[in-house]
Symmetry: C2
DNA sequence: CGCCGACTTGAGCAATCTCAATCATGGTGG
DNA sequence: CCACCATGATTGAGATTGCTCAAGTCGGCG
């Protein structure tokens, strides 16, 4: 992969530690590894073994670039361990976090044919291992395997649901609420009092929630009053149910669709 | 369709003009009508004619509810004329606009089987006509037709791209920029000076851009200095290129992914 | 004419960003 | 071992953006 000089490439200078396209330790892999990709959970073994030729596993270091927005789609990749962040780069050069992928998740979109272009860039967050299979082979099998089609369609639906949820959050919740929701999503189910480690640093969490780092820090401080302790990356939640209850109280008005009928009726009352 | 009393149903009281599930003038339709759905643009006639049984066309009035978030997916629908808005309702009852569909566009997601649930509500904006086909029939044909699968996957990709763009906009642009971008997207291609009509009222545009109506009004006022005149729903753009150039100047810092390498290099210089 | 809905405008306030300083931590070299 | 530095995180102060509430305008329409 070459380093281009288009406007979209701003921020990836040669010799920089971050953003380079260097990868280490690429090795071959078999069909067994493919099962680790959630996409293939319900795909038949026959299709999987046909897919498994030319499958490779690569180890990435923090900041390694997996692919760049605007470049051609050569592989379909999955996270085996670690985290990979997806970003969009505006013509101005500004980068916006679109999502973060972890164990078993697909990185980017499933290629359906030749001549596809990456709509986002993908970069490793810390050390990570990814599984890559050649896009042309995948696209070919996609045409022949209804099971694979079904898997891709299911995955797309899940992606869309996730993105819709994100848009809803950005439009209708303030920073405190988004952080509360994020923390609740990390709490292990079952326990009301819990303790866990943040999956990545606060800078990345801030980007994920769509706020500045300082704002996130203040939001964490505000949640302390609701039973959320943090020391660096460790979080302790006094009571998950209590935090969930306080949810709307952290709220703001939000961006509605004009006035809802509920509001209208309320006015009339 | 019944009116439930769950929290999510707030705002849909019986007897309200808006939000009711009443529809008028449902009539049968043939395979010819199906071609108007963009999803089917490249689907073979055989599949299409098999899909066409039980296809119906319905006329909606402003505020008519097509389906409600949380209800079962009974049909796959397309806009034939007019606009349909997609909204999510939070447990608190607050509604957030997720998207707006117009001519030929699919409303919601393609059903893949039984037991699917609508993740959003759909409501007519002004008068509209929609085409509906039974979900079970569509799901069955989806299993048998690779062409249909390909169409659905292509559509999902487009949806994802649209949603990603929206998230990027919400995270990295301020209200002025989002409005400028929206206006630019409405300008007919080719002409530098142009004049057109806004597709729907400003309340809905505000919800789409994720701001309050008052904020939108002020954003319009600010764009006047950049050659954008508006009188009610009519817009005149002095120079599309000039507006596009002014784009970043309307900007703010935005929510980046930590500091980009570009910024780091800039500091060093 | 008078009302209604859509839109605009103004004033104040709340949330968030910006800039800057500080602090803790871990690693590095002396 | 300690001084030093880089990084991440926190905190403070002030500016900006966008929201809230409220009033006012405007164009249709009965």
């Amino acid at each position: 992969m070459t380093i281009d000089t288009s406007p979209a490439a701003q921020g990836y200078g040669a010799g920089q530690r971050k953003g380079r396209a260097v990868r280490r330790a690429s090795r071959a892999a078999g069909p067994g590894e493919l099962r680790k990709a959630l996409l293939f959970a319900e795909v038949d073994g026959g299709t999987l073994s046909r897919l498994s030729a030319d499958v490779r596993i690569e180890s990435l270091q923090d900041g390694d670039l997996l692919f760049r927005q605007g470049s051609g789609v050569a592989h379909l990749s999955f996270v085996l361990s670690g985290y990979v962040k997806l970003m969009r780069t505006a013509p101005s050069g500004r980068q916006t976090l679109i999502g973060i992928r972890s164990d078993g998740e697909m990185i980017g979109e499933a290629p359906m044919g030749a001549d596809e272009i990456h709509t986002v860039s993908a970069e490793s967050v810390g050390a990570a291992r990814v599984l890559k299979l050649p896009a042309p082979r995948f696209a070919r099998l996609l045409k022949e395997s209804p099971a694979l089609c079904a898997a891709v369609m299911r995955d797309s639906k899940a992606s869309i649901a996730r993105l819709v949820g994100e848009i809803e959050a950005l439009k209708s919740q303030n920073a405190d609420q988004r952080l509360a929701h994020f923390i609740l999503s990390l709490c292990p189910p079952g326990e009301d009092r819990c303790r866990f480690r943040l999956p990545y640093d606060k800078r990345l969490i801030a980007a994920r929630l769509g706020v500045k780092q300082e704002t996130l820090s203040r939001a964490f401080a505000k949640l302390r009053a609701h039973g959320v302790r943090t020391e660096t990356r460790n979080v302790q939640v006094e009571s998950v149910t209590h935090l969930a209850d306080q949810y709307d109280r952290l709220g703001r008005a939000g961006i509605a669709v004009g006035r809802s009928d509920a509001e209208k009726r309320h006015d009339a009352a």
